[in-house]
Amino acid sequence: MTKRYPGGVTAVDGLTLRVPQGSVFGFLGPNGAGKTTTMRMLVGLVRPTSGRIRVLGQPPGTPNKLRRVGALIESPAFYPHLSGLDNLRLAARYAGAPDSAPSRVLAEVGLAERARSAFRTYSLGMKQRLGVAAALLKEPSLLILDEPTNGLDPAGVSEIRELLRSLGRRGRTVLLSSHVLAEVEQVCDRIAVLNRGRLVADGTADELRAALGGGQLLIAADPTDKALACLRDHRGVRAVEAVDGTLRVSTDPALAADLNRTLVEAGIDVRELRTVRHSLEEAFLELTSTTGSSG
Protein backbone atom coordinates (compact mmCIF):
# COMPACT_ATOMS: atom_id res chain seq x y z
CA MET A 1 0.00 0.00 0.00
CA THR A 2 1.02 3.55 -0.68
CA LYS A 3 -0.31 6.79 0.78
CA ARG A 4 0.64 10.03 -0.86
CA TYR A 5 -0.85 13.22 0.56
CA PRO A 6 -1.66 16.30 -1.52
CA GLY A 7 1.48 18.38 -1.69
CA GLY A 8 3.65 15.42 -2.52
CA VAL A 9 4.38 13.96 0.93
CA THR A 10 4.58 10.17 0.70
CA ALA A 11 3.75 8.80 4.14
CA VAL A 12 3.70 5.14 3.19
CA ASP A 13 5.61 3.93 0.18
CA GLY A 14 4.86 0.51 -1.29
CA LEU A 15 4.49 -1.19 2.08
CA THR A 16 3.70 -4.90 2.00
CA LEU A 17 2.89 -6.37 5.36
CA ARG A 18 1.19 -9.52 6.60
CA VAL A 19 0.17 -9.78 10.24
CA PRO A 20 -0.35 -13.42 11.25
CA GLN A 21 -3.63 -14.16 12.97
CA GLY A 22 -3.25 -14.68 16.72
CA SER A 23 0.10 -12.89 16.95
CA VAL A 24 1.18 -9.81 18.85
CA PHE A 25 2.82 -7.85 16.08
CA GLY A 26 5.11 -4.90 16.81
CA PHE A 27 5.42 -1.90 14.60
CA LEU A 28 8.63 0.07 15.02
CA GLY A 29 9.92 3.16 13.29
CA PRO A 30 11.16 6.67 13.96
CA ASN A 31 8.76 9.62 14.00
CA GLY A 32 7.33 10.16 10.54
CA ALA A 33 8.08 6.59 9.45
CA GLY A 34 4.44 6.02 8.44
CA LYS A 35 3.27 3.85 11.35
CA THR A 36 0.22 5.93 12.26
CA THR A 37 -0.77 6.46 8.62
CA THR A 38 -0.58 2.70 8.08
CA MET A 39 -2.78 2.12 11.11
CA ARG A 40 -5.24 4.76 9.92
CA MET A 41 -5.46 2.94 6.59
CA LEU A 42 -6.08 -0.37 8.36
CA VAL A 43 -9.19 1.00 10.12
CA GLY A 44 -10.44 2.92 7.08
CA LEU A 45 -9.85 6.45 8.41
CA VAL A 46 -7.46 7.12 5.52
CA ARG A 47 -7.70 5.60 2.07
CA PRO A 48 -4.55 4.36 0.35
CA THR A 49 -3.48 6.16 -2.82
CA SER A 50 -2.73 2.77 -4.32
CA GLY A 51 -2.50 -0.81 -3.22
CA ARG A 52 -4.81 -3.34 -1.64
CA ILE A 53 -5.59 -3.81 2.06
CA ARG A 54 -7.48 -6.68 3.63
CA VAL A 55 -8.35 -6.67 7.32
CA LEU A 56 -9.81 -9.97 8.52
CA GLY A 57 -10.36 -10.77 4.85
CA GLN A 58 -12.35 -7.64 4.00
CA PRO A 59 -11.52 -4.08 2.88
CA PRO A 60 -10.87 -1.81 5.90
CA GLY A 61 -13.78 0.16 7.33
CA THR A 62 -16.40 -2.43 6.38
CA PRO A 63 -19.06 -2.27 9.15
CA ASN A 64 -19.18 -6.01 9.80
CA LYS A 65 -15.39 -6.16 10.08
CA LEU A 66 -15.11 -2.99 12.16
CA ARG A 67 -17.27 -4.81 14.67
CA ARG A 68 -14.32 -7.18 15.21
CA VAL A 69 -11.61 -4.49 15.24
CA GLY A 70 -10.69 -2.32 18.23
CA ALA A 71 -8.40 0.62 17.65
CA LEU A 72 -6.55 3.35 19.47
CA ILE A 73 -4.97 5.56 16.85
CA GLU A 74 -2.61 8.36 17.91
CA SER A 75 -3.86 10.22 21.00
CA PRO A 76 -7.12 9.16 22.65
CA ALA A 77 -9.95 11.37 21.37
CA PHE A 78 -13.09 11.70 23.49
CA TYR A 79 -15.77 14.26 24.33
CA PRO A 80 -14.16 16.43 27.03
CA HIS A 81 -17.43 17.27 28.80
CA LEU A 82 -18.57 13.65 29.09
CA SER A 83 -17.37 11.26 31.77
CA GLY A 84 -15.21 8.29 30.86
CA LEU A 85 -18.23 6.03 31.33
CA ASP A 86 -20.48 8.20 29.15
CA ASN A 87 -17.82 8.37 26.43
CA LEU A 88 -17.69 4.59 26.38
CA ARG A 89 -21.49 4.33 26.47
CA LEU A 90 -21.57 6.55 23.40
CA ALA A 91 -18.96 4.46 21.60
CA ALA A 92 -20.83 1.29 22.62
CA ARG A 93 -24.02 2.66 21.07
CA TYR A 94 -22.24 3.22 17.78
CA ALA A 95 -20.55 -0.17 18.01
CA GLY A 96 -23.67 -2.08 18.97
CA ALA A 97 -21.83 -3.38 22.05
CA PRO A 98 -23.86 -4.55 25.08
CA ASP A 99 -24.72 -2.03 27.84
CA SER A 100 -22.47 -3.90 30.27
CA ALA A 101 -19.38 -3.49 28.05
CA PRO A 102 -18.28 0.01 29.23
CA SER A 103 -18.13 -0.97 32.92
CA ARG A 104 -16.34 -4.21 32.08
CA VAL A 105 -13.55 -2.56 30.07
CA LEU A 106 -13.16 0.31 32.54
CA ALA A 107 -12.46 -2.28 35.25
CA GLU A 108 -10.10 -4.12 32.89
CA VAL A 109 -7.90 -1.02 32.40
CA GLY A 110 -8.10 0.04 36.06
CA LEU A 111 -10.25 3.13 35.54
CA ALA A 112 -13.44 2.08 37.34
CA GLU A 113 -12.95 4.51 40.25
CA ARG A 114 -12.80 7.55 37.95
CA ALA A 115 -15.47 6.31 35.54
CA ARG A 116 -17.85 9.17 36.36
CA SER A 117 -15.30 11.98 36.17
CA ALA A 118 -15.29 14.23 33.10
CA PHE A 119 -12.72 13.22 30.49
CA ARG A 120 -11.17 16.71 30.58
CA THR A 121 -10.15 16.12 34.20
CA TYR A 122 -8.18 12.96 33.36
CA SER A 123 -4.39 12.80 33.44
CA LEU A 124 -2.56 11.78 30.28
CA GLY A 125 -2.18 8.24 31.60
CA MET A 126 -5.90 7.99 32.41
CA LYS A 127 -6.79 9.25 28.95
CA GLN A 128 -4.56 6.59 27.49
CA ARG A 129 -6.24 3.90 29.61
CA LEU A 130 -9.64 5.10 28.41
CA GLY A 131 -8.40 4.85 24.82
CA VAL A 132 -7.37 1.24 25.41
CA ALA A 133 -10.72 0.59 27.10
CA ALA A 134 -12.58 1.92 24.04
CA ALA A 135 -10.52 -0.36 21.83
CA LEU A 136 -11.55 -3.35 23.97
CA LEU A 137 -15.29 -2.49 23.98
CA LYS A 138 -16.24 -4.83 21.15
CA GLU A 139 -14.14 -7.78 22.42
CA PRO A 140 -12.31 -7.51 19.09
CA SER A 141 -10.49 -10.23 17.21
CA LEU A 142 -7.96 -7.63 16.07
CA LEU A 143 -6.61 -4.80 18.22
CA ILE A 144 -4.74 -1.94 16.58
CA LEU A 145 -2.95 0.13 19.21
CA ASP A 146 -0.81 3.14 18.42
CA GLU A 147 1.60 3.86 21.31
CA PRO A 148 -0.84 2.60 23.97
CA THR A 149 1.53 3.14 26.91
CA ASN A 150 2.22 6.82 26.15
CA GLY A 151 2.00 8.87 29.33
CA LEU A 152 1.50 5.91 31.65
CA ASP A 153 3.46 5.55 34.88
CA PRO A 154 5.64 2.42 35.26
CA ALA A 155 2.85 0.52 37.02
CA GLY A 156 0.43 1.45 34.25
CA VAL A 157 2.91 0.42 31.56
CA SER A 158 3.33 -2.93 33.26
CA GLU A 159 -0.46 -3.43 33.50
CA ILE A 160 -1.02 -2.63 29.84
CA ARG A 161 1.83 -4.92 28.80
CA GLU A 162 0.34 -7.75 30.83
CA LEU A 163 -3.05 -7.01 29.26
CA LEU A 164 -1.52 -7.21 25.78
CA ARG A 165 0.22 -10.47 26.62
CA SER A 166 -3.01 -11.95 27.95
CA LEU A 167 -4.84 -10.86 24.78
CA GLY A 168 -2.17 -12.62 22.75
CA ARG A 169 -2.55 -15.75 24.88
CA ARG A 170 -6.30 -15.67 24.26
CA GLY A 171 -5.68 -15.83 20.52
CA ARG A 172 -6.41 -12.17 19.75
CA THR A 173 -4.32 -10.52 17.06
CA VAL A 174 -2.64 -7.34 18.29
CA LEU A 175 -0.87 -4.80 16.10
CA LEU A 176 1.12 -2.55 18.39
CA SER A 177 3.23 0.47 17.54
CA SER A 178 5.64 1.80 20.10
CA HIS A 179 8.77 3.83 20.55
CA VAL A 180 9.72 1.74 23.57
CA LEU A 181 11.90 -1.00 22.13
CA ALA A 182 11.98 -3.01 25.34
CA GLU A 183 8.21 -3.05 25.34
CA VAL A 184 8.04 -4.37 21.80
CA GLU A 185 10.70 -6.95 22.56
CA GLN A 186 8.88 -8.16 25.68
CA VAL A 187 5.40 -8.28 24.23
CA CYS A 188 5.61 -8.96 20.50
CA ASP A 189 6.00 -12.24 18.64
CA ARG A 190 7.08 -10.50 15.44
CA ILE A 191 8.30 -7.00 14.64
CA ALA A 192 8.17 -4.90 11.49
CA VAL A 193 10.51 -1.91 11.18
CA LEU A 194 9.39 1.02 9.05
CA ASN A 195 11.48 3.90 7.84
CA ARG A 196 10.33 6.69 5.55
CA GLY A 197 7.22 4.73 4.73
CA ARG A 198 9.07 1.60 3.67
CA LEU A 199 9.40 -1.74 5.37
CA VAL A 200 13.08 -2.23 6.21
CA ALA A 201 12.84 -5.41 8.29
CA ASP A 202 10.29 -7.96 9.42
CA GLY A 203 10.85 -10.86 11.79
CA THR A 204 11.30 -11.90 15.40
CA ALA A 205 13.54 -9.82 17.68
CA ASP A 206 16.25 -12.50 17.36
CA GLU A 207 15.99 -12.41 13.59
CA LEU A 208 16.37 -8.63 13.55
CA ARG A 209 19.44 -8.82 15.74
CA ALA A 210 20.85 -11.60 13.56
CA ALA A 211 20.36 -9.37 10.55
CA LEU A 212 23.14 -7.17 11.96
CA GLY A 213 25.64 -10.00 11.62
CA GLY A 214 25.07 -12.18 14.61
CA GLY A 215 26.82 -10.24 17.37
CA GLN A 216 30.22 -10.40 19.07
CA LEU A 217 32.33 -12.70 21.24
CA LEU A 218 34.32 -11.25 24.12
CA ILE A 219 37.48 -13.26 24.79
CA ALA A 220 40.02 -12.76 27.56
CA ALA A 221 43.15 -14.74 26.68
CA ASP A 222 46.90 -14.74 27.46
CA PRO A 223 48.99 -13.74 25.73
CA THR A 224 46.62 -11.27 24.15
CA ASP A 225 48.76 -10.35 21.11
CA LYS A 226 49.21 -14.02 20.16
CA ALA A 227 45.44 -14.64 20.53
CA LEU A 228 44.75 -11.56 18.38
CA ALA A 229 46.98 -12.85 15.60
CA CYS A 230 45.50 -16.34 15.84
CA LEU A 231 41.88 -15.11 15.62
CA ARG A 232 42.52 -12.72 12.75
CA ASP A 233 43.36 -15.63 10.48
CA HIS A 234 40.43 -17.78 11.60
CA ARG A 235 37.68 -18.61 9.12
CA GLY A 236 34.36 -16.85 9.94
CA VAL A 237 35.91 -13.99 11.89
CA ARG A 238 35.06 -10.65 10.32
CA ALA A 239 37.03 -8.41 12.67
CA VAL A 240 39.01 -8.53 15.93
CA GLU A 241 40.06 -5.67 18.15
CA ALA A 242 41.75 -5.53 21.54
CA VAL A 243 40.02 -3.28 24.07
CA ASP A 244 41.41 -3.01 27.62
CA GLY A 245 43.05 -6.41 27.39
CA THR A 246 39.92 -8.09 26.04
CA LEU A 247 39.37 -9.19 22.45
CA ARG A 248 36.14 -8.19 20.73
CA VAL A 249 35.51 -10.65 17.92
CA SER A 250 32.86 -9.94 15.30
CA THR A 251 31.61 -13.35 14.21
CA ASP A 252 28.75 -15.78 14.39
CA PRO A 253 28.36 -16.72 18.10
CA ALA A 254 27.91 -20.34 16.99
CA LEU A 255 31.67 -20.39 16.28
CA ALA A 256 32.52 -19.86 19.99
CA ALA A 257 33.51 -23.48 20.69
CA ASP A 258 35.58 -23.69 17.50
CA LEU A 259 37.48 -20.51 18.36
CA ASN A 260 38.08 -21.73 21.91
CA ARG A 261 39.54 -25.00 20.61
CA THR A 262 41.81 -23.14 18.15
CA LEU A 263 43.19 -20.89 20.89
CA VAL A 264 43.80 -23.76 23.33
CA GLU A 265 45.50 -25.86 20.63
CA ALA A 266 47.76 -22.84 19.91
CA GLY A 267 48.87 -22.84 23.56
CA ILE A 268 46.86 -19.80 24.56
CA ASP A 269 45.12 -19.66 27.95
CA VAL A 270 41.47 -18.72 27.60
CA ARG A 271 40.26 -17.09 30.84
CA GLU A 272 36.83 -15.96 29.64
CA LEU A 273 34.70 -16.36 26.54
CA ARG A 274 31.19 -15.00 26.29
CA THR A 275 28.66 -13.98 23.68
CA VAL A 276 27.49 -10.37 23.41
CA ARG A 277 24.24 -10.15 21.49
CA HIS A 278 23.22 -6.98 19.70
CA SER A 279 20.41 -5.20 21.50
CA LEU A 280 17.17 -4.55 19.66
CA GLU A 281 18.00 -0.86 20.00
CA GLU A 282 21.23 -1.36 18.07
CA ALA A 283 19.34 -3.34 15.45
CA PHE A 284 16.67 -0.63 15.23
CA LEU A 285 19.20 2.19 14.92
CA GLU A 286 21.17 0.26 12.32
CA LEU A 287 18.09 -0.58 10.28
CA THR A 288 16.68 2.93 10.34
CA SER A 289 19.94 4.80 9.89
CA THR A 290 20.72 3.27 6.51
CA THR A 291 17.95 5.31 4.88
CA GLY A 292 17.93 8.10 7.47
CA SER A 293 15.11 9.37 9.62
CA SER A 294 12.52 11.70 8.23
CA GLY A 295 11.75 13.11 11.73
Binding site: G44, L45, Y94
Partner: protein, 280 residues
Amino acid sequence: MIASVRAAWFADRKRPAVWAVTVTWVAMALAFGVGVPYLVHLALAGDPKQAEDAASLLDAVLPGQLVPTGIALFPLFGGAIVVILGAVVVGNEYRWGTLNLIFTQRPRRAQVLAGHAVALCALTLLLVVLTFAALAVVTTLLALVEGRGLDWPPAGDLAGAVAAAWLICAAHASLGYLLAIAFRSTATAIAVGLVWTLVLENAISGLALVLSPLEVVQKLLLAPSSGALAGALGARSQFEGGTPGVIDSAGAGPPVAVLLAYVVLMFGLGTWLAARRDVG
Protein backbone atom coordinates in the same frame (compact mmCIF):
# COMPACT_ATOMS: atom_id res chain seq x y z
CA MET B 1 -29.23 4.30 11.67
CA ILE B 2 -31.39 4.53 14.81
CA ALA B 3 -28.33 3.71 16.92
CA SER B 4 -26.42 6.55 15.22
CA VAL B 5 -29.25 9.02 15.86
CA ARG B 6 -29.49 7.95 19.52
CA ALA B 7 -25.73 8.24 19.96
CA ALA B 8 -25.57 11.69 18.30
CA TRP B 9 -28.50 12.90 20.41
CA PHE B 10 -26.81 11.54 23.56
CA ALA B 11 -23.63 13.50 22.72
CA ASP B 12 -25.39 16.67 21.54
CA ARG B 13 -27.76 17.10 24.44
CA LYS B 14 -24.83 16.97 26.86
CA ARG B 15 -22.75 19.60 25.04
CA PRO B 16 -22.50 22.77 27.16
CA ALA B 17 -22.19 24.83 23.95
CA VAL B 18 -25.58 23.61 22.71
CA TRP B 19 -27.30 24.82 25.87
CA ALA B 20 -25.30 28.07 25.89
CA VAL B 21 -26.48 28.83 22.35
CA THR B 22 -30.06 27.81 23.17
CA VAL B 23 -30.30 29.89 26.35
CA THR B 24 -28.63 32.86 24.63
CA TRP B 25 -31.12 32.67 21.78
CA VAL B 26 -34.20 32.38 24.01
CA ALA B 27 -32.99 35.36 26.05
CA MET B 28 -32.41 37.35 22.85
CA ALA B 29 -35.84 36.37 21.51
CA LEU B 30 -37.53 37.55 24.70
CA ALA B 31 -35.51 40.77 24.77
CA PHE B 32 -36.00 41.77 21.15
CA GLY B 33 -39.39 40.15 20.56
CA VAL B 34 -41.15 41.33 23.73
CA GLY B 35 -38.88 43.23 26.11
CA VAL B 36 -37.77 46.10 23.88
CA PRO B 37 -41.21 46.72 22.28
CA TYR B 38 -42.84 46.71 25.73
CA LEU B 39 -40.30 49.18 27.13
CA VAL B 40 -40.85 51.47 24.12
CA HIS B 41 -44.61 51.13 24.67
CA LEU B 42 -44.15 52.21 28.29
CA ALA B 43 -42.05 55.17 27.15
CA LEU B 44 -44.67 56.29 24.60
CA ALA B 45 -47.73 55.53 26.69
CA GLY B 46 -47.69 58.85 28.53
CA ASP B 47 -47.66 60.91 25.32
CA PRO B 48 -51.15 61.36 23.78
CA LYS B 49 -49.61 62.08 20.38
CA GLN B 50 -47.96 58.65 20.41
CA ALA B 51 -50.95 56.76 21.79
CA GLU B 52 -51.62 54.87 18.55
CA ASP B 53 -48.02 53.67 18.28
CA ALA B 54 -47.99 52.73 21.96
CA ALA B 55 -51.18 50.67 21.55
CA SER B 56 -49.78 48.96 18.47
CA LEU B 57 -46.60 48.04 20.35
CA LEU B 58 -48.61 46.64 23.24
CA ASP B 59 -50.73 44.53 20.89
CA ALA B 60 -47.55 43.02 19.44
CA VAL B 61 -46.43 41.69 22.81
CA LEU B 62 -49.76 40.08 23.77
CA PRO B 63 -50.60 36.38 23.24
CA GLY B 64 -52.88 37.16 20.28
CA GLN B 65 -49.85 38.23 18.21
CA LEU B 66 -47.69 35.27 19.21
CA VAL B 67 -47.46 33.91 15.66
CA PRO B 68 -46.19 37.04 13.82
CA THR B 69 -44.11 38.18 16.80
CA GLY B 70 -42.47 34.78 17.17
CA ILE B 71 -41.85 33.91 13.53
CA ALA B 72 -40.44 37.39 12.81
CA LEU B 73 -37.49 36.69 15.10
CA PHE B 74 -36.14 33.77 13.12
CA PRO B 75 -35.15 34.92 9.61
CA LEU B 76 -32.27 37.16 10.63
CA PHE B 77 -31.42 36.72 14.31
CA GLY B 78 -32.52 33.12 14.84
CA GLY B 79 -30.97 32.00 11.58
CA ALA B 80 -27.57 33.41 12.53
CA ILE B 81 -27.69 31.76 15.95
CA VAL B 82 -28.62 28.42 14.45
CA VAL B 83 -25.75 28.59 11.92
CA ILE B 84 -23.53 28.72 15.02
CA LEU B 85 -25.36 25.75 16.52
CA GLY B 86 -24.84 23.64 13.38
CA ALA B 87 -21.16 24.58 13.22
CA VAL B 88 -20.60 23.85 16.92
CA VAL B 89 -22.24 20.42 16.86
CA VAL B 90 -20.26 19.09 13.89
CA GLY B 91 -17.13 21.26 14.01
CA ASN B 92 -16.25 20.12 17.52
CA GLU B 93 -16.09 16.53 16.28
CA TYR B 94 -13.13 17.64 14.18
CA ARG B 95 -11.70 19.83 16.95
CA TRP B 96 -11.74 17.03 19.52
CA GLY B 97 -10.83 14.31 17.02
CA THR B 98 -13.86 12.27 18.11
CA LEU B 99 -14.62 11.26 14.51
CA ASN B 100 -11.60 8.94 14.89
CA LEU B 101 -13.41 7.22 17.76
CA ILE B 102 -16.79 7.09 16.05
CA PHE B 103 -15.63 6.04 12.58
CA THR B 104 -13.71 3.08 14.02
CA GLN B 105 -16.85 1.69 15.64
CA ARG B 106 -19.41 -0.17 13.58
CA PRO B 107 -21.68 2.06 11.46
CA ARG B 108 -20.93 3.44 8.02
CA ARG B 109 -19.70 7.03 7.95
CA ALA B 110 -22.84 8.20 6.13
CA GLN B 111 -24.96 6.73 8.92
CA VAL B 112 -22.92 8.53 11.57
CA LEU B 113 -23.24 11.85 9.77
CA ALA B 114 -26.92 11.32 9.01
CA GLY B 115 -27.40 10.64 12.73
CA HIS B 116 -25.82 14.00 13.49
CA ALA B 117 -28.06 15.72 10.92
CA VAL B 118 -31.21 14.19 12.43
CA ALA B 119 -30.07 15.06 15.97
CA LEU B 120 -29.37 18.62 14.82
CA CYS B 121 -32.87 18.89 13.36
CA ALA B 122 -34.26 17.64 16.70
CA LEU B 123 -32.19 20.26 18.56
CA THR B 124 -33.50 23.04 16.33
CA LEU B 125 -37.08 21.85 16.91
CA LEU B 126 -36.43 21.94 20.65
CA LEU B 127 -34.99 25.45 20.33
CA VAL B 128 -38.07 26.65 18.38
CA VAL B 129 -40.51 25.08 20.84
CA LEU B 130 -38.63 26.58 23.80
CA THR B 131 -38.69 30.00 22.09
CA PHE B 132 -42.45 29.94 21.49
CA ALA B 133 -43.07 28.54 24.97
CA ALA B 134 -41.02 31.34 26.57
CA LEU B 135 -42.79 33.96 24.43
CA ALA B 136 -46.15 32.48 25.41
CA VAL B 137 -45.32 32.68 29.12
CA VAL B 138 -44.02 36.26 28.95
CA THR B 139 -46.82 37.56 26.72
CA THR B 140 -49.33 35.97 29.11
CA LEU B 141 -47.69 37.73 32.05
CA LEU B 142 -47.78 41.05 30.18
CA ALA B 143 -51.46 40.55 29.33
CA LEU B 144 -52.20 39.94 33.00
CA VAL B 145 -50.14 42.98 34.06
CA GLU B 146 -51.89 45.18 31.49
CA GLY B 147 -55.31 43.78 32.35
CA ARG B 148 -55.90 42.51 28.81
CA GLY B 149 -57.72 39.34 27.84
CA LEU B 150 -55.84 36.13 26.95
CA ASP B 151 -56.69 35.99 23.26
CA TRP B 152 -54.68 33.04 21.93
CA PRO B 153 -54.07 32.40 18.24
CA PRO B 154 -55.69 29.28 16.74
CA ALA B 155 -53.71 26.11 17.48
CA GLY B 156 -53.30 25.46 13.75
CA ASP B 157 -51.69 28.87 13.21
CA LEU B 158 -49.37 28.31 16.14
CA ALA B 159 -48.37 24.86 14.86
CA GLY B 160 -47.76 26.37 11.42
CA ALA B 161 -45.53 29.05 12.92
CA VAL B 162 -43.54 26.46 14.87
CA ALA B 163 -43.15 24.35 11.73
CA ALA B 164 -42.06 27.38 9.68
CA ALA B 165 -39.60 28.52 12.33
CA TRP B 166 -38.23 24.98 12.53
CA LEU B 167 -37.77 24.87 8.74
CA ILE B 168 -35.90 28.19 8.85
CA CYS B 169 -33.69 26.89 11.65
CA ALA B 170 -33.08 23.50 10.03
CA ALA B 171 -31.98 25.21 6.80
CA HIS B 172 -29.58 27.51 8.66
CA ALA B 173 -28.29 24.62 10.81
CA SER B 174 -27.60 22.64 7.65
CA LEU B 175 -25.43 25.52 6.42
CA GLY B 176 -23.41 25.44 9.66
CA TYR B 177 -23.17 21.64 9.36
CA LEU B 178 -21.83 21.78 5.79
CA LEU B 179 -19.36 24.58 6.52
CA ALA B 180 -18.00 22.79 9.62
CA ILE B 181 -17.36 19.68 7.55
CA ALA B 182 -15.92 21.61 4.62
CA PHE B 183 -13.47 23.55 6.82
CA ARG B 184 -13.08 20.80 9.48
CA SER B 185 -13.30 23.62 11.99
CA THR B 186 -15.86 25.29 14.24
CA ALA B 187 -14.48 28.83 14.24
CA THR B 188 -14.01 29.11 10.48
CA ALA B 189 -17.46 27.65 9.84
CA ILE B 190 -19.08 30.19 12.19
CA ALA B 191 -17.18 33.10 10.64
CA VAL B 192 -17.98 32.12 7.05
CA GLY B 193 -21.59 31.23 7.93
CA LEU B 194 -22.27 34.58 9.58
CA VAL B 195 -20.60 36.52 6.78
CA TRP B 196 -22.68 34.56 4.28
CA THR B 197 -26.07 35.03 5.95
CA LEU B 198 -25.64 38.47 7.48
CA VAL B 199 -23.42 40.22 4.95
CA LEU B 200 -23.34 38.52 1.55
CA GLU B 201 -27.02 37.64 1.31
CA ASN B 202 -28.06 41.07 2.62
CA ALA B 203 -25.78 42.75 0.08
CA ILE B 204 -27.36 40.75 -2.76
CA SER B 205 -30.84 41.55 -1.43
CA GLY B 206 -29.96 45.24 -1.33
CA LEU B 207 -28.60 45.16 -4.85
CA ALA B 208 -31.71 43.33 -6.03
CA LEU B 209 -33.71 46.50 -5.25
CA VAL B 210 -31.86 48.33 -8.00
CA LEU B 211 -30.72 45.46 -10.23
CA SER B 212 -33.84 43.54 -11.20
CA PRO B 213 -31.99 40.45 -12.59
CA LEU B 214 -30.80 39.78 -9.04
CA GLU B 215 -34.41 39.35 -7.84
CA VAL B 216 -34.36 35.76 -9.10
CA VAL B 217 -31.12 35.09 -7.26
CA GLN B 218 -32.50 36.69 -4.10
CA LYS B 219 -35.45 34.30 -4.08
CA LEU B 220 -33.02 31.40 -3.93
CA LEU B 221 -31.06 32.72 -0.96
CA LEU B 222 -31.40 31.40 2.57
CA ALA B 223 -32.09 34.56 4.58
CA PRO B 224 -34.50 36.19 2.06
CA SER B 225 -36.44 32.91 1.74
CA SER B 226 -36.66 32.73 5.51
CA GLY B 227 -37.86 36.34 5.60
CA ALA B 228 -40.43 35.63 2.91
CA LEU B 229 -41.80 32.65 4.84
CA ALA B 230 -42.13 34.79 7.98
CA GLY B 231 -43.85 37.47 5.90
CA ALA B 232 -46.27 34.91 4.50
CA LEU B 233 -47.29 34.00 8.06
CA GLY B 234 -48.19 37.59 8.91
CA ALA B 235 -44.98 39.08 10.27
CA ARG B 236 -44.55 42.73 9.33
CA SER B 237 -41.68 43.44 6.97
CA GLN B 238 -38.84 45.77 7.78
CA PHE B 239 -40.23 48.29 5.29
CA GLU B 240 -43.50 48.40 7.29
CA GLY B 241 -41.69 49.04 10.53
CA GLY B 242 -41.47 45.36 11.36
CA THR B 243 -38.53 43.14 12.21
CA PRO B 244 -35.31 43.23 10.15
CA GLY B 245 -35.07 40.26 7.80
CA VAL B 246 -38.82 39.88 7.24
CA ILE B 247 -39.93 40.32 3.60
CA ASP B 248 -43.40 40.78 2.11
CA SER B 249 -44.49 37.57 0.47
CA ALA B 250 -47.43 36.46 -1.63
CA GLY B 251 -47.33 32.93 -0.33
CA ALA B 252 -45.44 30.39 1.73
CA GLY B 253 -45.00 27.81 -1.06
CA PRO B 254 -41.87 29.14 -2.85
CA PRO B 255 -39.87 29.94 0.30
CA VAL B 256 -40.81 26.59 1.84
CA ALA B 257 -39.55 24.83 -1.32
CA VAL B 258 -36.27 26.79 -1.26
CA LEU B 259 -35.69 26.11 2.44
CA LEU B 260 -36.46 22.40 2.05
CA ALA B 261 -33.99 22.29 -0.84
CA TYR B 262 -31.34 23.87 1.42
CA VAL B 263 -31.98 21.26 4.12
CA VAL B 264 -31.66 18.36 1.68
CA LEU B 265 -28.70 19.76 -0.29
CA MET B 266 -26.60 21.05 2.62
CA PHE B 267 -27.05 17.98 4.82
CA GLY B 268 -26.59 15.70 1.81
CA LEU B 269 -23.47 17.46 0.56
CA GLY B 270 -21.93 17.62 4.04
CA THR B 271 -22.59 13.93 4.65
CA TRP B 272 -21.14 12.98 1.25
CA LEU B 273 -18.04 15.11 1.83
CA ALA B 274 -17.36 13.74 5.31
CA ALA B 275 -17.90 10.17 4.14
CA ARG B 276 -15.42 10.34 1.28
CA ARG B 277 -12.55 12.35 2.81
CA ASP B 278 -9.68 11.07 4.91
CA VAL B 279 -9.95 11.64 8.65
CA GLY B 280 -6.71 12.72 10.22
